[in-house]
């Protein structure tokens, strides 16, 4: 086999200029494709991270059916057994309780439907970093009787720090819920929807308001990274078989659909790019076959089997493609490495649009290994497909005709 490899490698450099032109097309195609893939994956990671770290967390536990019908009666009682079961799962880094429901909020002369989220302030802050989103005022303390509101909600209700907001709604089992709360802080939430509707308060105060002592609607759970989600989810399902365990993907299906559709458009662009590259390789292979017909005839006549000759030519095709791939990947690594730490900032309307959608106004990059090996795999598959041409040609080759050519 080594002699075939040696022969194939030497053969591709018989016409250096042609090989360099062909590999250059692969090289630039790979750089372009890696760059595009890196931008896509970097953006998706940023979107996912924004969603996970600003609201949903990696995993949540609910009463069965809560996610489909987010109603306060679809809640569960929090107890030390639940806490110890979660603590037993080593992948889990932190978890926090929430009581979420909807009610009416009224300021001096404006009323609006809001989402009330009762939280454990220190734990919640570790997960969603609400204190980091403060525009005005201060963050909640444990046992605090005040509230934090989204900036758009505050603007709508004309609220400032220390103003009072009245909440009126329905508690557990139809109990009436009403209370007035001073505004401690105003946050700029990255999700426009939450920025327009979120009222955040201490969980005890929330449970009192809705007559739900010890009751939660969700437990938000964080793991080290996305890689641990599947394993942790399985462990949680095992421990909480009677409850609803959801990961961030299930909770953010709309985002995933958007990502999938964006990925599909990327695949189409890459497909077109690779088809153009493939035609370059096909051209080279056709020339190789035409130029070396006599040589192939000689090799077959002196005793080389057709399959052995096919191996050599197939290796040549693969080498032409893979030289470009390897060079392209090596060249793209430092470029991506630079952009990984220096994302391209958006300005003007693009910046505003990104901010409105709740994302950082910058183009992020990723260095996921799959971005690189996918290119190698695609080119490899293409070269194998292109290899069908020499395979058929050599199989059909008539030795005496080849010798005369």
């Amino acid at each position: 086999m080594s002699s075939y490899v040696k022969m194939a490698w030497r053969n591709i450099w018989r016409n250096k200029r042609r090989t360099l032109i062909t590999t250059a097309s692969v090289f630039f195609g790979v750089i372009l494709s890696v760059f595009m893939g890196s931008m896509q994956e970097g953006s998706y990671s940023q979107y996912i991270s924004a969603i996970v770290n600003s609201y949903s967390g990696y995993l949540q536990i609910h009463q069965k059916g809560y996610w489909a019908d987010k109603e306060i009666n679809n809640s569960f009682e929090y107890n030390p057994i639940i806490e110890s079961k979660i603590a037993d799962i080593k992948e889990i880094t932190i978890f926090t309780p929430r009581l979420e429901t909807f009610c009416l909020a009224s300021s001096a002369d404006v009323t609006k439907g809001v989402m009330v989220m009762g939280v454990d302030p220190p734990k919640e802050d570790k997960i969603t970093n609400i204190s980091g989103k403060l525009k005005e005022g201060s963050y909640l303390k444990k046992g605090d009787n005040g509230i934090i509101v989204g900036s758009r909600l505050a603007r709508f209700l004309k609220l400032g720090i220390n103003d009072t907001l009245v909440l009126i709604g329905q508690g557990v089992h139809g109990a009436s819920a009403a209370g007035k709360y001073p505004v401690r802080g105003i946050i700029k939430h990255p999700s426009p929807e939450l920025d327009r509707s979120l009222v955040c308060m201490d969980i005890q105060a929330c449970q009192e308001l809705f007559s739900a002592p010890g009751i939660l609607t969700s437990l938000v759970i964080m793991v080290h990274d996305n890689e641990e989600v599947a394993l942790s989810r399985n462990n949680l399902i095992h421990s909480f078989s009677e409850m609803e365990v959801m990961d961030w993907k299930e909770m953010n299906q709309l985002l995933l659909k958007q990502i999938d559709s964006d990925r599909a458009s990327g695949v189409i662009i890459k497909g077109i790019l690779y088809i153009i590259i493939a035609f370059g390789i096909i051209g080279t292979v056709i020339m190789i076959m035409a130029e070396r017909k006599k040589e192939f005839g000689v090799m077959l006549s002196i005793g080389m089997h057709r399959f052995q000759l096919i191996i050599v030519v197939l290796l040549e095709t693969i080498f032409i493609g893979m030289v470009g791939v390897v060079a392209g990947i090596i060249a793209s690594i430092p470029i991506l490495y630079y952009f990984l730490f220096n994302p391209i900032p958006f300005t003007g309307q693009a910046e505003e649009m990104m901010l409105q959608m709740g994302f950082e106004p910058a183009m992020y990059f990723s260095m996921m290994p799959s971005i690189f090996y996918e290119q190698a795999l695609i080119i490899f598959i293409f070269t194998l497909l292109i290899g069908i041409y020499p395979l058929v040609n050599i199989q059909k080759l008539i030795i005496i005709h080849a010798l005369r050519s």
Binding site: M7, R10, N11, E295, V298, M299, L300, G303, Q308
Partner: protein
């Protein structure tokens, strides 16, 4: 002992539906150690005969027995293996593999035969010595003269220890000195190692060196002369 025996070999090319009879019922035998030359005008059927003897082309009719094996009955892959082990080829335009060095070109067939590296190297060294190109073993073919390339081609043909060597116009692309030199080498190999050579040629120098001259015209053997027999008669 007959190493080649052909009986009633016919080859008809169906060129644009008008059949062309390249060979018309040829009967020939070759014995081990022959140094034979097939001669005749262009289009007489020399190359076709050589191609059929080498298993590169199939006879339309007739029997081709090489070393007791009916070549016409072999499948494509078996014929390739047969060629690799039993027949050596020397072509008019050398046809060495350009990306391989002299040594690698000679070793190539032995590699295909699966011969161990040490044995290959030993055999290659012997052949390089025989053709007087030991000092050029690491050169690529394009660095050699035509005569040197054809000597390497002879060494390559001998590498697999074939039963006989078919040489199609081996001196056609060589100057007279290189041609003489090549014929001397082949003559020596024939005399000292009893290697069978069958040439197709127009070259008088080859005919002069040949011990047997077979003349073909219009696909038929019109004369088959063994020089020694004529000498004996004289």
């Amino acid at each position: 002992m007959n190493i080649i025996e052909i009986k009633g070999v016919t080859k008809i090319y169906d060129k644009n539906t008008i059949p062309v009879h390249a060979l018309n019922g040829i009967d020939l035998t070759f014995q081990e150690g022959e140094f034979a030359s097939i001669v005749g005008p262009s289009g007489s059927g020399k190359t076709t005969l050589l191609n059929i003897l080498g298993g590169l082309d199939d006879a339309t009719d007739g029997v081709v027995l090489i070393d007791g094996v009916d070549l016409t009955a072999l499948s494509g892959a078996k014929k390739t293996t047969f060629r690799k082990n039993k027949i050596g080829f020397v072509f008019q335009s050398f046809n060495l593999i350009p990306v391989l060095t002299v040594q690698e070109n000679i070793e190539f067939i032995m590699q295909l035969q699966g011969i161990a590296r040490e044995d290959r190297e030993k055999r290659t060294a012997e052949l390089l010595e025989a053709i007087g190109l030991s000092d050029r073993k690491n050169s690529r073919p394009n660095k050699l003269s035509g005569g040197q390339q054809q000597r390497v081609a002879v060494a390559r043909a001998l590498a697999s220890k074939p039963k006989f060597i078919l040489a199609d116009e081996p001196t056609a692309n060589l100057d007279s000195k290189s041609a003489e030199n090549l014929l001397d080498i082949m003559g020596k190999l024939n005399r000292e190692e009893n290697i069978t050579f069958i040439f197709s040629t127009h070259d008088l120098r080859v005919m002069n060196k040949a011990k047997r001259i077979i003349t073909i015209e219009d696909g038929k053997v019109i004369s088959d002369v063994v020089k020694e027999e004529i000498h004996n008669l004289i």
